[in-house]
Amino acid sequence: MRIDVNAFLGGYPFAKVPGTSPKDVLAAMDRAAIDEAWVTHLPGLFWRDPPAGNAWLYDTCREFPRLHPVAAVHPGLANWSDVLREAVARDAPAIRCDPCYCALAPSGPEMVALATAAGAAGRPLLLAVRLEDTRQRHPNDVTPELPAAAVRALIRSGPAVRLVVTHADRGFIEEVHFGSTPDEARRIWWDISWIWGPPEEHLATLLRTIGPERFVFGTGQPLRLPEAAVAKLDLLDVSPEQRAAIESKNAAAARGGQR
């Protein structure tokens, strides 16, 4: 079983990206032997009202049961708690808010309120550090990357808060993990999409220093080839149990065991 917690549907505003339709993403999942994916409505991340993409996302995921909706919530909009309630009712494995794309303070009161409410509702809050390599971004794509300090602040905002952080590299992960108490660190999961394999061996190092239970399989598709995340795992020397944890079991723990 392999679950991709970091997948998108729909077009990207800053570049022509092929394969963004649900059927294309499912074909890519078949190619990379990915059974299920947590999917975000990609264009909605850039809208003033990101939750406006949720209805389409819910309909699409109902049509394609291998896809699970990661609903967008904007805690700066007055109806955000209704949006969260609907996400829970729709069995979303996680809700997401990318504060920098919403021009919200990454660890400001709105984000703290959202993280706390999501935790109380039994859902992890999913955030991306970045979507693209800074060096290649469109000249007008000047949104800051999510700061590590924000992740540390959000995880400290309540004991029920759980976070899934995607597109983080080794330095970011180490800074947050070792800048958190063991209890806080146990409530954060990191996707492997942006962590380097050999010869730098960042992923192998993190699995040794932080532990495999903190990592989940994620690709960033269709912006990125899903083969990269699979190749990282194929280059690791880990036990079948550890690999299964990264590929699916940790994702189940992150979503709180609810199915």
């Binding site: 990206v17 394969g19 290649q136 380097w196 730098e200 990125r224 080839l225 083969e227 190749a231 280059l235």
Partner: protein, 266 residues
């Protein structure tokens, strides 16, 4: 057969105390991926006693000595480029000749001088004399100067390539940062410029765009410092290319531009 045209191994005199583990990791991952030959370059001391992209003459010699020793120690697995700093013209040309006589199979230009600078002409003439391709470090779509290097972009390399049509140029790490679309807009007209697919980038659509810009006969597979993303691109290429075209990218194009006899199957 699989040739990685963009590899690096670290020498003892470098900032990396884990250089032995790093090198072992590359060889181990190469076994798993199925890499037949790593073609490596050593950029001086990688910043230990002179800057990585501006290596001193002494460090150039040290680095090339390390590459030559690696190639001898791992004759079945490693080939090397002679890395030179074109600001030291006579030294650079002598290092190319020395490297070639010691069995190195290409020239590596890092970022010590802009690619279209006239100082590079003599380097290209020397490479042509020895029948060696030139691997040029490239920043895809450079819009400003970056610290620590005098980086060039694809357009600047293509200007050099137009002046030296008999030399094969390997445009480094098209997936290694910057806007690869900027590069792909300029390469179609330059038949002696080959795209090295290495780099950490695995953007969807990038490989198809490289194929459209340069065709299967001008793509070279490589990994640089992220072998996982290199393997991912290799897997995807196998999905989108015919077996014959895949072999071109995996090794046959490389075998064509490096000196005859560089690889076992030549």
């Amino acid at each position: 057969m699989l040739i990685d045209v963009h590899a690096h191994f670290f020498p003892e005199r470098s900032p990396r105390s884990d250089w032995r583990a790093y090198n072992a990791s590359r060889l181990r991952a190469g076994e798993r991926i199925g890499i037949t030959l790593h073609v490596t370059s050593t950029l001086g001391t990688f910043g230990f006693t002179s800057p990585t992209y501006f290596p001193s003459p002494d460090d150039v010699v040290y680095g090339n000595d390390f590459t030559i020793a690696l190639q001898r120690e791992h004759a079945a697995r490693i080939r090397g480029y002679a890395c030179v700093n074109p600001n030291y013209q006579d030294h650079a040309r002598a290092e190319i000749a020395r490297g070639r006589s010691a069995g190195l199979i290409g020239v590596k230009l890092a970022a010590s001088r802009r690619a279209d600078d006239p100082l590079l002409d003599a380097i290209c003439d020397t490479a042509r004399h020895h029948g060696l391709p030139i691997l040029q470090h490239i920043w895809q779509g450079r819009r400003r100067d970056w610290p620590g290097q005098e980086a060039s972009d694809g357009a600047e390399l293509c200007r050099l390539a137009a002046r030296h049509p008999q030399v094969s140029f390997i445009l480094a790490h098209v997936a290694g940062g910057g806007d690869w679309r900027h590069t792909l807009a300029v390469v179609p007209a330059h038949a002696n410029v080959y795209l090295d697919l290495s780099g950490s980038g695995v953007d969807s659509g990038m490989l198809e765009a490289c194929l459209a810009a340069a065709g299967t006969e001008r793509l070279l597979w490589g990994s640089d410092i992220t072998m996982d993303t290199g393997w991912a691109k290799l897997r995807y290429l196998k999905h989108i290319l015919s077996p014959a075209d895949f072999e071109l990218v995996a090794w046959k194009n490389a075998a064509r531009i490096f000196p005859p006899g560089s690889f076992p199957s030549d």
